[in-house]
């Protein structure tokens, strides 16, 4: 019996996809660079005042200044610490509740639409409640961000566990595995990619909550710094911080996306 390499039809299209993927990355970079250039020239040519819109060169200078005097790094540290605490809590709460809603079918079916509705609702508007509950402390931020982040984790954990195909569980039973063994050796690995997807979403939403709350309450971190810079009319610096925050989100997205792909690659 021959053991030839798999389906030759996949070979050329794999190459095409490789090229395509790089083509679009280059195109994206190209467009981005062109926009940056346009931005820079429109200021230097005087079409727009540099006091209204800081050029990219100005942003870079301001970023360096902020890093050197420690403001950016200090704020970043605060925000990331709060984010880590919130995400940690969100994962613990989210995965536990998601698991419970998976085990208990009735509760799962009952609460899933509720969770969906809460998630789609303007949840950040609840922030004054947290202010009153916890006062102007970091606990308020952590609480809000944890709730915000745990909802996608709950929903995705439950769905991930439910989506494991019955056949895989039967394979486990046919090998006389105990229910615990089946859970850890079959269900969890099978559900992992979708669960991670939920954690990724939870992370992004927690970050959203943290920075927004920081900005609104001037408590600390990137949000507070932005608010302060804005208040002091330090325009280039506030633009720089906005850019830095977008880059942070992008970085988080990119890293978690890479992890998600590598979990799924083996599938």
């Amino acid at each position: 019996m021959t053991t030839k390499a798999p389906n030759p039809a996949t070979a050329p299209s794999k190459m095409l996809k490789y090229w395509h993927r790089h083509m679009s990355t280059l195109l994206g970079l190209g467009i981005f660079a062109a926009l940056l250039a346009l931005w820079e020239t429109s200021i230097s040519l005087g079409w727009i005042s540099k006091f209204v819109l800081t050029p990219p060169s100005g942003i870079v200078k301001a970023l360096i200044k902020l890093t050197q005097n420690g403001e950016l790094t200090g704020a970043l540290f605060t925000t990331l610490s709060i984010l880590a605490a919130s995400l940690g809590l969100a994962m613990v709460i989210g995965i536990s509740i998601g698991y419970l809603l998976y085990r208990n079918q009735l509760w799962g079916k009952a609460f899933e639409p509720l969770l969906g509705a809460i998630f789609a609702s303007p949840l950040p508007l609840m922030f004054p409640i947290f202010l009153v509950l916890f006062g102007r402390t970091f606990y308020a931020i952590i609480f809000l961000a944890t709730i915000y982040g745990s909802i996608p984790i709950i929903m995705n954990t439950r769905e991930a566990l439910l989506s494991v195909r019955r056949t895989l569980i039967w394979v486990g039973r046919s090998f006389r595995l105990s229910e615990t063994q089946i859970f850890w050796k079959i269900i969890v690995p099978a559900a992992a990619p979708l669960m991670f997807s939920g954690i990724r979403m939870g992370l992004i939403y927690a970050l959203l909550g943290v920075v927004a709350f920081e900005f609104l309450t001037d408590l600390g971190g990137l949000g507070r710094l932005l608010s302060e810079l804005n208040y002091k009319f330090k325009i280039p610096e506030s633009f720089a911080l906005t850019a830095a925050t977008v880059m942070l989100s992008g970085l988080v997205l990119f890293i978690t996306g890479w992890i998600e792909r590598s979990i799924s690659n083996s599938r």
């Binding site: 395509h20 993927r21 083509m23 679009s24 990355t25 280059l26 195109l27 994206g28 190209g30 467009i31 981005f32 209204v52 819109l53 009735l106 509760w107 079916k109 009952a110 609460f111 639409p113 509720l114 789609a120 609702s121 303007p122 950040p124 508007l125 609840m126 922030f127 004054p128 409640i129 202010l131 009153v132 509950l133 992004i204 970050l207 959203l208 909550g209 920075v211 927004a212 900005f215 609104l216 990137l222 949000g223 932005l226 608010s227 810079l229 804005n230 325009i235 506030s238 633009f239 911080l241 906005t242 925050t245 977008v246 880059m247 989100s249 992008g250 988080v252 997205l253 990119f254």
Partner: protein, 246 residues
């Protein structure tokens, strides 16, 4: 007895309300927050009979509505364009995603630098809040359209506007609706948070005023109204989308 999902849900909601109310009445845990339902209702009545409230309500709805509508048009068009010219869609997707997952509030200083402190800023913030969910939903929807339909239509030398009207839009109905609902919620949040931070008008500003005066009951009432707004808008969007023929 509690054997269907609906009953469990209803019971859970009732239980939460019961705990809230009991706690409010016996004033055990953080009594300032847990205002009795009766006080909230009274607050609601008081507010809805004050002219000032309606002025604030108007400002919030105006900014949100205008920003949202502009985002609907722009987001749908751009989303469809990125989906139709897939190479651009794939190229720009990472950048759009980075912006989409940033907290929109960080753009406020930038916007204020351009637009000052007034309504234009709020409309722009509403636009920024709504554009990403709408754009991404439209784009994602475009990616799921069966390519065969498109190729068949093109083989008949279809004009681009007919292609959009007769092939794209019908398939996009559902994803667009989801995008609009998420988008409206996001734009409402952007506007209210802007009002809370820098406003002199609008429901966000009003809520912060009540917070400052420690009139928690009235603050809650404002929040209840905001949530009610979101629910109504959701409902209307749902209705509107199922009526529109194309």
């Amino acid at each position: 007895m509690l054997n269907t999902p609906t009953r469990v849900r209803a019971f859970a909601l009732f239980a939460i309300w019961l705990i809230w109310e009991v706690n409010a009445q016996i004033a055990w845990l953080v009594p300032e927050v847990f205002t009795p339902t009766s006080k909230i209702l009274v607050g609601l009545v008081e507010i809805s009979t004050s002219k000032v409230f309606y002025e604030h309500l108007f400002f919030t709805i105006l900014s949100t509505g205008v920003g949202f509508l502009i985002a609907v048009v722009a987001g749908t068009i751009i989303g469809i364009a990125l989906g139709a010219f897939k190479i651009f869609g794939r190229a720009l997707n990472p950048y759009i995603a980075a912006f989409a997952s940033s907290p929109k509030i960080i753009f406020l200083p930038v916007v204020m630098s351009f637009a000052g402190w007034g309504t234009e800023t709020k409309i722009t913030m509403a636009f920024i809040g709504a554009i990403f969910p709408i754009l991404l939903s439209a784009y994602a929807g475009m990616l799921t359209i069966n390519q065969v339909h498109i190729r068949v239509a093109k083989s008949f030398n279809i004009k681009w506007y007919d292609l959009v009207r007769k092939v794209y839009l019908p398939s996009l109905r559902h994803p667009l609706l989801v995008g609009f609902r998420l988008g409206f919620g996001a734009s409402l949040v952007s506007v209210v948070l802007t009002e809370a931070k820098f406003g002199e008008s609008g429901l966000g500003f009003l809520a912060m005023q009540y917070y400052g005066l420690y009139a928690i009951g009235k603050m809650f009432s404002v929040l209840v109204i905001l949530f009610a707004l979101a629910i109504i808008a959701n409902f209307l969007l749902d209705r509107f989308a199922t009526r529109v023929p194309h």
